[in-house]
């Protein structure tokens, strides 16, 4: 029996977020299959098991507990749900299983000294918020021009929506723009009053920090109220086909953040050819290949496979690595441009280079715009916001957490 690298996927494919879940996990599994077709990572095949969480924390915990001991023990887990991630956060260090939170979760978890087993890879909410302001400043023709401008932060009224507030507030002080905070009660299926308020305020930009069905409603309501979509900039959870397609033409001109450059890549072609054409694709609908969620899943899988590869280099090529070793692999990732080219995903995601201090590894994002049919990148280069600021926030916040939990911050060996 050849060694297998087993990964736990507490996923969700029913319920309100099913659309995103099926794309994301579909992408992950597609890439795994692709890697396995070519013999795995140095001969080690990747195996995985899914378990339906319905996005529900307690079912997620059950899934995690069930999956973690299977097939000789899970060596990585990714729930794509803040609630589930928090539910298993405390268990990770005990079980020695690293968890990635790609693009969500608490931003301060990037501090590997306090959260050794947690990896908010690519970019956290804070860095994204900083990047957004950077982008808006550039658009205005320089950060200084932000002075006196009005920016609305229209947010999902939950922990998720409030997460970027410290960054936005700090930046608003720094650059002198007025920050107007307007919450939307989840699930946000009615936003007339918010958009009337927005119309009334006549802002220069609207940051749409939304999630799920709230996004489509926001765009539609903007249209109903005659607010130009060009002035709306969404968070990456508001920047997928699922958010724009249901709005019809209303989303034309709307832009959103992403950490994947829209487009086609050799790796996607391979997935199309080797998997979907052979009837082995994971998603029901082949036209979703390369969609935002799918690409996000593929990117996640790429990073994990690279982490396995990195760890194997240290702990033994062609051998199954343990969760602890996987942790090390994730902490010493370096997916640079050369590596991306080799994978066939050059430019699809930013360069990711992690360390004990920085479990995020990048913080770079792009802006994409919806043309009525598909997303197109509008920034040729990756944007990085004020990382010094976010770093400072991160230190403070993770220190508070460490104090509360009585953890002595230190890098794992």
């Amino acid at each position: 029996q050849p060694a297998e690298q087993y990964i736990a996927l507490p996923s969700y494919r029913v319920g309100p977020y099913a659309a995103g879940g099926s794309g994301f996990y579909g992408g992950i599994i597609d890439y795994f299959n692709l890697v396995n077709l070519s013999g795995g990572v140095n001969g080690v095949k990747i195996s995985w098991e899914e378990c339906e969480t319905e996005y529900n924390p307690s079912r997620g915990v059950e899934c995690y507990e069930r999956l973690k001991t299977k097939n000789g023990g899970a060596t990585l887990v990714e729930p794509l749900s803040t609630g589930v991630a928090y539910g298993i956060l405390d268990r990770l260090a005990v079980d020695k299983i690293p968890m990635t939170m790609i693009g969500y979760g608490r931003s301060d978890a990037a501090n590997g000294k306090v959260f050794p087993y947690v990896f908010p890879l690519i970019t956290s909410y804070w860095n994204q918020a900083a990047a957004m302001i950077k982008y808006l400043g550039d658009k205005e023709g320089g950060m200084a021009r932000l002075k006196g401008k009005k920016i609305v932060h229209l947010y999902h009224d939950s922990a998720f929506g409030k997460e970027p507030l410290p960054v936005l507030e700090a930046l608003s002080k720094q650059y002198g723009f007025e920050l107007i905070k307007i919450p939307v009660t989840p699930p946000g299926s009615e936003q007339q009053s918010q958009w009337l308020q927005i119309r009334q305020a006549k802002p220069d930009h609207v940051i749409l920090w939304g999630w799920g069905s709230m996004n489509a409603v926001a765009i539609k309501t903007a249209q109903r109220n005659g607010f130009p979509r060009e002035k709306i900039l969404g968070v990456w959870w508001a920047g997928s086909e699922e958010d724009t397609v249901p709005t019809g033409d209303a989303a034309k001109g709307y832009s959103a953040m992403t950490f994947n450059t829209p487009g086609n890549y050799p790796v996607l072609d391979e997935i199309r050819k080797k998997l979907y054409d052979a009837g082995k694709g994971n998603m029901a609908d082949a036209s979703r290949i390369g969609s935002v969620y799918h690409m996000r899943g593929v990117s996640a899988a790429i990073l994990w496979v690279e982490a396995i590869r990195t760890a194997q280099e240290k702990f033994g090529k062609g051998k199954r690595i343990t969760g602890e070793q996987m942790r090390w692999g994730l902490e010493n990732l370096n997916v640079d441009e050369a590596r991306q080219k080799a994978i066939g995903a050059f430019g699809m995601l930013p360069v990711v280079k992690t360390s004990c201090d920085d479990h995020e590894g990048s913080g770079a994002v792009k802006v994409q715009q919806w043309d009525g049919k598909k997303w197109n990148a509008v920034t040729p280069n990756w944007i990085v916001g004020d990382k010094a600021l976010t770093r400072q926030l991160l230190e403070e916040s993770s220190a508070a957490y460490a104090a509360e939990k009585k953890i002595t911050p230190a890098c794992a060996k």
């Binding site: 009615e190 109903r224 397609v245």
Partner: protein, 300 residues
């Protein structure tokens, strides 16, 4: 200027209220006629809309072909629900029936996504959701023409159903059923046939709501949540009153928007989630059976 804004909020709220009422009607229909609090109404809204766009997608059919097919599906669904769920549960306590409809909701949600997939879809009706130019030019108020149509549809539905309940023999029988299943059976009301028809009609009401909400927000799972918006409307208007659904919808819609705009900023915003409930509650303290609901008879 300020006054104008106030009216915009008010009108926007009233029109949102109409959309809530649309969903509330489905609840009232079932409750008034059988005493069942149908938790699956939201799921039915989703199911109807998804079937419609799903049929369009899968068969490449136009809206005008998909619509009759969906109508047929909703009627079949109604018949099936009566046969499988309600018939064996005649004369059971309210809470049991309520629970059964929750089970039903799961089933319908699973079924819909199994058949048509979980992805989000758009639904385009021939009428666009953009501000009516006519009203804009002549009265300088901003009202989407889509909303005007929704209001008309809603008014039509309520009037028809209200007449049905108050003026016809079937309407009377329905109210009798809600009071006492056993006695209704004893006087020979064909409970089963009536329920089948009723659920089929509720399915059609769900279809109307699903089309309008779906066109507005996209056809996606979140459509099942619109039920949450309809609940305060229901308790305010009364579970048993068709006109109550409309009046309740208007009151809830308008006051919720005004509150969010004028009170929200003071307390940190996002009060739309609970404000309608609290408002409805205040009304209930004065009239425990809602504005227009039938008085709860407590006599010994």
């Amino acid at each position: 200027m300020l006054m104008n804004f106030f009216f915009e909020v008010l009108i926007g709220g009233l029109l949102s209220g109409v959309m809530y009422a649309l969903v509330a009607i489905g609840f009232v229909l079932i409750y008034k006629a059988s005493g069942v609090f149908n938790f699956a109404q939201g799921a039915m809204v989703y199911f109807a809309a998804l079937t419609c766009v799903g049929v369009m997608d899968k068969l490449g059919a136009s809206l005008w072909i998909a619509l009759p097919i969906t109508v047929a599906v909703m009627i079949l669904l109604g018949l099936a629900i009566e046969r499988v769920v309600l018939r064996p549960l005649v004369n059971q306590p309210e809470i049991t029936l309520f629970m059964a409809t929750i089970g039903l909701a799961f089933f319908i949600e699973g079924l819909a996504q199994l058949v048509f997939g979980a992805q989000v879809r758009k639904l385009e009706l021939p009428i666009e959701d953009v501000p009516s130019q006519y009203l804009m030019d002549n009265y300088n108020i901003l009202v989407s023409q889509f909303d005007i149509m929704a209001a008309a549809v809603c008014g039509l539905l309520v009037t028809t159903l209200a007449l049905l309940f108050s003026k016809t023999k079937v309407g009377r029988a329905l109210r009798a059923v809600a009071d006492d299943h056993q006695a209704a059976l004893a006087v020979g009301i064909p409970l089963q046939r009536i329920w089948a028809v009723l659920w089929a009609v509720a399915g059609l009401v769900a279809l109307v709501a699903g089309m309008l909400w779906g066109a507005r927000n996209g056809v996606q799972f979140a459509l099942t949540f619109v039920a949450l918006k309809a609940l305060p409307v229901l308790i305010l208007g009364g579970f048993t009153s068709m006109p109550g659904a409309i009046v309740g919808g208007l009151i809830i819609g308008a006051s919720e928007k005004l509150a969010e705009v004028y009170i929200g900023p003071i307390v940190g915003g996002g009060i739309e989630g609970w404000f309608p409930y609290v408002l409805a509650l205040l009304f209930l303290l004065v009239r425990p059976e809602g504005l227009f609901g039938e008085k709860i008879i407590r006599r010994i």
